[in-house]
């Protein structure tokens, strides 16, 4: 019980600080949060939409979380998600096979796209000691600009807007609740989370990953190839973000445009931190951000509080989690200073 309370503390503090912000903006916190909850849970439609929006937060949150567990900071989920969404959209428009196969193929392409994109950072980190923090930030922008270029030029499939051609009907994830946007993508995200939790805790690969996260030096003594684990972790991390992008395309948008993500990859950092990088916790924190994200618009419409309040709450949550982690967060630094001392230092 105390553990649950401790985990909820940053959320409570952030929502409390959010209330003060609402009052300063001449709003009523009870009314604002009430409208938010009403929007997220007030109807079957609302609940389904909340769950639909939860999906991408779970996938992207898992992406950041698994990297954290290996002591890596993947700020590039946004770029990996975009690349995964783009490869999925291209596959969906060109595969032309029967429905279950086509969906599987598209998901695989999305995962592969994200994995390849993240692997660039993984390789540069493992081979040259280039900080993944910096390379993934830079790769985000390269992905965004590259995707933007592709959909306004070579891959443009629409006369009206810079976007790809629509995916085949066979590639579309159908709604599991009629009349809503909730698709099988959500169960898929939950399966991914449970699978990852099992893999991290119960397999040799997961053990190696966590060992590298605790201490690269210890991992090396134990005969674990740190380089291999780093590259593999970044690939898995990117694949998860790519799957998030794939589900957005197959379930919600049915085509790709470069504005498809309003920063899911960045919010996913908050998702992972709040869950303390536990894959099962990511399901819960992903749901929390799904609630905020879906409820924001009705908060704006019915309580007159601008929807961007949820960004402020998100920022405060990250800040409060960082504070609680202070001291316990040595692993990230330990990693940098240790690897520097053996001559392949991570350059920040």
């Amino acid at each position: 019980m105390r553990i649950v309370a401790a985990r909820l503390l940053p959320v409570v503090l952030a929502l409390a600080a959010g209330s003060i912000v609402i009052i300063l903006a001449h709003g009523n916190p009870v009314q604002a949060y009430g409208a938010l909850l009403q929007g997220s849970f007030g109807s079957l439609q609302g609940i389904a939409e909340t769950l639909a929006q939860t999906t991408v937060f779970i996938f992207a949150g898992l992406s950041v979380a698994i990297a954290f567990r290996a002591g890596l900071f993947n700020i590039g989920a946004e770029g990996q998600l975009l690349v995964g969404a783009l490869t999925t959209a291209v596959a969906g428009a060109h595969l032309h096979v029967v429905a279950p196969l086509e969906i599987a193929g598209c998901l695989a392409c999305g995962a592969l796209g994200g994995a390849v994109w993240a692997s660039i950072a993984g390789f540069l980190r493992a081979r040259f000691g280039a900080s993944e923090v910096i390379t993934t930030i830079m790769l985000n922008y390269i992905a965004y600009l590259g995707a933007n270029y592709l959909v306004s030029g070579p891959l443009r499939g629409s006369a009206l807007a810079p976007e790809t051609a629509p995916i085949d009907a066979a590639a579309v994830l159908p709604p599991i609740v009629a009349g809503t946007r909730l698709t099988a993508a959500l169960p898929l995200a939950i399966i991914a989370a449970v699978g990852l939790w099992w893999w991290l805790g119960r397999t040799v690969g997961g053990f190696e990953l966590r060992t590298v996260g605790r201490s690269e030096r210890v991992a090396r003594y134990a005969g674990i190839s740190v380089t291999r684990v780093i590259v593999k972790t970044m690939a898995i991390s990117g694949a998860l973000a790519g799957l998030g992008g794939a589900c957005e395309v197959l379930g919600l948008f049915h085509r790709f445009n470069a504005q498809l993500s309003p920063g899911y990859g960045f919010t996913s950092i908050a998702v992972a931190l709040l869950a303390q990088s536990n894959p099962l916790g990511v399901i819960v924190s992903g749901f929390f951000f799904g609630v905020l994200s879906n409820g924001a618009l009705s908060m704006q419409a019915f309580a007159g509080v601008p929807k961007d309040l949820i960004s402020v709450i998100e920022g405060l949550i990250i800040l409060f989690v960082a504070l609680r982690w202070a001291g316990a967060q040595v692993t990230l630094h330990e990693r940098v200073s240790e690897s520097t001392s053996v001559g392949d230092g991570a350059v920040l």
């Binding site: 903006a25 961007d308 960004s311 967060q329």
Partner: protein
Amino acid sequence: MNAEGSLIAAVLGITLIKATPLTYAALGGVISENAGVVNIGLEGIMAAGAFSAVVASYYTHNLVLAVVGALAVGAVFGLILAYFTVTQGADQIIVGMAINVLGVGGAAFLLAAIFGQPGASPEVTSFSTIAAGLPGNAAWPILFLRYALVWGALALIVGLQLFLYRTKRGVHVRAVGEAPHAALAAGIDVFRVRYAAVITGAMLAALGGTYLSIGEVDLYSDGMVAGRGFIALAAVIFGRWTPLGAAGACLFFGFFSSLQIALQRANVPAQLLEMLPYLLTIVAIAGFIGRTRPPAADGIPFERT
């Protein structure tokens, strides 16, 4: 002047204009990282600075107060970063990301809350409106005032380089970033120097934002900073953590933005040119163009043991 000459003049002018906001933010990053604190929140602080300059100008119609307002908000963000990372020893990257979200999100929230319109603020008193209102038509006072922040950036480059490498306090900053324990043994107050460097750095980033909103144009719009904070971060690395190097990188990146305008006519896609700073930074950090080495204690919390 012939057409070619005016094109070159235009490219050089635009280079300076595009480099100015980057330079302020990058110099802010340089001073912070030289003291051992990575400021990955430059983007958010630039947005906060750009927005608060507009708010201050909206209410006071006074440029000086607008700049002071932006600097004050920058200082508050710097104080937050310093408190969490220096005093509490929290992870600098995580706190920096929080600041990005708070700066960009907070500006968007307040934009809607204060002006009641999403997207963009109304037009406010800016450097160009004040310059245009100067009496007479003497060219140089107008140019001086209109581009005051550009000249300020140029002066700051030299000033910060001299400060870091030619003054005792500058040596203290670098000592704290390279070997905090040795600095402490030498009687330097590590915490105080880090606080000062982080807050100053954040104020400079806010000034970069100020240039974007009331220097280049006369309003704040959502998404106005558009990744410049991260380009500035790239410039810090590309310029190897020195003021001159970082400013050189900013000019180089600014030069490419100005080329875009010329090259777009030649059908070179703008997006591919915009990628260049990011690509070059990856190349630089992977060590393909010489060794890049940050200050030794950069990114590591200091614990008095």
